[in-house]
């Protein structure tokens, strides 16, 4: 029954690794910058016009605070960044660094240097690909040129205070993050914000969160991360399906293994079953014994498999697989993954393979069991 042990082990370890990967994808996608849900002025996401703002952000933030949702206000604007002879287009973010730090994790996600300080100081945090294309480092002087909200040309000098780690394609390529007060000066934008990011750290289910936000802030457009990041949402669904297919193959293999073993085991004992029948044992009793035997085998095998699977997953959860050697920091469909791939062992990842393997083993034993149960006692006793 080594095969069943092996199957259990592989399934547990694989489920844990996949779960780890997906958890990380969702974490990175939502906890770094997207949050669990976002509020915008209606239509803002379509053209990202600087004029489509949520007015009176303080009142909205207070309402969200009353519901104890974490919330951060942001402003966005396009423009040009230039470092010595290199220049590139950028998406400027105006952020409140203290709120960002309290609610999201982008501020801890620094590859170089530090995040913005609490006070506006003409500091800039750049996405890593943007920094690379500008050849900018911590301390580099950056010239910023934008079209301000009043039509004038906003320009100023900023200093790079930090460069982010991989945080998703959009952020990596174009984010230039500054203090919201610096943003207001640069873009001549006195009031309003373009976005409020809401994060509850997973406390509130998405549907309930959306409902609650729609009630709290009438007139704003509410989107959850599943709507904001459809690629990730789809990816999760696809991986669910592919894991089911993967599991089905392993269960089938386990079932065939058990079927084979039990057929052999019953075939070898035709005499004994014949004798039992001759003594008046009911067919149902034989079916029960054979399937019980199969389950016992499955039980012992899965115990071994669970021990091995949990042990390995534990190690993978703790230490992780270091993929730096062949992948480095990478992003898939615009979502960042850490170079160390950690498993995430859940109760379900253990329970599901074990229960399904038990059921499969019992089902697989039914065929040999029914053959045994239907044996003709006389013929069996003469069976060579």
């Amino acid at each position: 029954m080594a095969a069943v042990s092996m199957n259990t082990f592989i399934l547990i370890a694989t489920y844990a690794l996949m779960q780890g990967l997906l958890d990380q994808a969702v974490q990175n996608a939502t906890q770094l910058s997207t949050g669990e849900a976002q509020l915008h002025a209606p239509g803002y996401l379509e053209d990202r016009s600087i004029y489509k703002t949520l007015e009176n952000p303080e009142a909205i933030l207070q309402k969200l605070k009353d519901r104890s949702f974490g919330a951060v206000p942001r402003t966005y604007g396009y423009g040009l960044v230039s470092c010595r002879t290199k220049s590139a287009g950028a998406m400027f973010w105006g952020v409140d660094p203290d709120k960002e730090r309290a609610v999201l994790r982008l501020a801890e996600h620094m590859g170089e240097g530090v995040y913005l300080s609490s006070k506006a100081h003409r500091g800039l945090v750049l996405g890593r690909k943007l920094a690379r294309s500008l050849n900018a480092h911590v301390g580099s002087e950056i010239v910023v040129l934008v079209q301000a909200a009043d039509g004038s040309l906003g320009n100023d000098l900023f200093t790079v205070s930090g460069i982010l780690k991989a945080a998703g394609e959009g952020v990596d390529r174009s984010a230039a993050i500054m203090h919201i007060d610096d943003f207001r000066d640069l873009f001549v934008m006195r009031s309003g914000v373009h976005e409020i990011v809401v994060n509850t750290g997973g406390r509130v289910p998405l549907a309930a969160l959306k409902e609650s936000l729609i009630q709290a802030v009438p007139g704003a457009e509410v989107k959850t991360w599943r709507e904001l990041l459809p690629t990730l949402s789809d990816m999760l669904q696809i991986s669910d399906v592919s894991m089911s297919v993967f599991g089905a193959i392993f269960y089938l293999a386990a079932g065939l293994g058990v079927l084979n073993t039990m057929l052999m085991a019953t075939y070898e004992r035709i005499h004994e079953f014949g004798l039992l029948k001759a003594l008046g044992t009911s067919p149902w009793r034989i079916v029960r014994d054979v399937t019980m035997e199969a389950w016992l085998l499955a039980f012992l095998s899965t115990v071994v498999g669970v021990v091995a699977g949990v042990a390995v997953s534990w190690v993978l959860q703790d230490v992780g697989l270091d993929t730096t050697g062949f992948a480095g920091e990478y992003t898939v469909s615009g979502i960042a993954f850490d170079p160390v791939w950690r498993a995430s062992l859940t109760f379900r990842a253990v329970l599901e393979p074990v229960l399904v393997i038990w059921v499969v083993c019992i089902l697989a034993a039914l065929y040999p069991a029914s053959i045994s149960a239907r044996l003709d006692p006389v013929k069996s006793l003469y069976h060579v």
Binding site: Y78, S87, D150, G151
Partner: protein, 268 residues
């Protein structure tokens, strides 16, 4: 007009860019065209388009203009001084408003440099920003750089000749040649019969929807050359917005030194 024929992104929201430079760059025509009042039949569509392309061009030019940009959210008026030399070099400097005084755009070949006096830095415009608005106008940076001539990039024919809206006009319709590097699907140029000065050009996108119209008015004579001093660009998708350029002064074929078009000069 060469500077109009370049790309103007329907959504770029920008106005005016090419005009100015165009102006700048194209201003220097070799010689002043005195347009004789020949009958239309005597002038072919080719000549009409060539004259239009050369109207604001010269070996060099120098002048001043006013640019008014009106968008849904703001209206601003800029006073600009410009220089151009050949096809490749042009420089535009903001004279007013004070907040932006001395901000300059230098075009050299396909490159655009901006000088920002507030931070005393010169920055080069990345190619990804070519379709963005120039100085908030309804022209794009690309409008400033592209050089194309109607007769080279388009197939054309006279599609109307006669009286329309009280004026004797000639209408020439231009369809881009299959491999021409232009973004328009069609350009319709209307000139007045009496001297072939442009009245209007309409730019259609590849689906042949109107993308923007330019109208020309206020014909004046500047140092011997007669041309419409005022151009208005209206993007078709935002009819309430427009960019108006009015030449206050313009002189052609001056002896301008290359030094004017250097990055060093930008910073002075």
């Amino acid at each position: 007009m060469t500077w109009f024929s370049s790309k103007y992104g329907r959504n770029s929201g920008s106005p005016f860019s090419r005009g100015i430079l165009a102006i700048v760059s194209s201003l220097a025509v070799l010689c002043f065209f005195c347009f004789p009042a020949t009958p239309a039949s005597a002038v072919t569509a080719r000549e009409i388009l060539d004259r239009m392309d050369d109207l604001y061009r010269g070996e060099s030019s120098h002048g001043e203009m006013t640019m008014v940009v009106v968008t849904a959210h703001w209206k601003r008026t800029l006073s600009l001084e410009f220089w151009s030399k050949g096809k490749e070099k042009s420089l535009i400097k903001i004279l007013a408003p004070i907040k932006e005084k001395d901000t300059a755009t230098l075009r050299s070949g396909n490159e655009i440099w901006n000088y920002l006096p507030k931070v005393k830095r010169v920055i080069k415009l990345p190619s990804s920003m070519m379709s963005a608005s120039w100085m908030g106008s309804h022209f794009t940076n690309d409008d400033l750089v592209k050089e194309s001539r109607f007769v080279e990039d388009y197939d054309f024919e006279v599609t109307f000749e006669g009286r329309r809206a009280g004026k004797d006009i000639v209408e020439v319709t231009c369809i881009p040649k299959p491999d021409a590097p232009v973004v328009w699907g069609k350009v319709v140029v209307v000139v007045r019969l009496q001297d072939y000065l442009p009245l209007e050009s309409a730019y259609f996108d590849e689906e042949l929807h109107l993308a923007r119209t330019m109208t020309f008015s206020d014909v004046r004579t500047f140092s011997g050359r007669t041309l419409p001093a005022r151009m208005v660009v209206v993007p078709a998708d935002k009819p309430g917005e427009r960019t108006e350029v009015t030449y206050r002064e313009i002189a052609f074929d001056l002896d301008l030194s290359d030094e004017i078009f250097s990055i060093r000069n930008l910073q002075k």
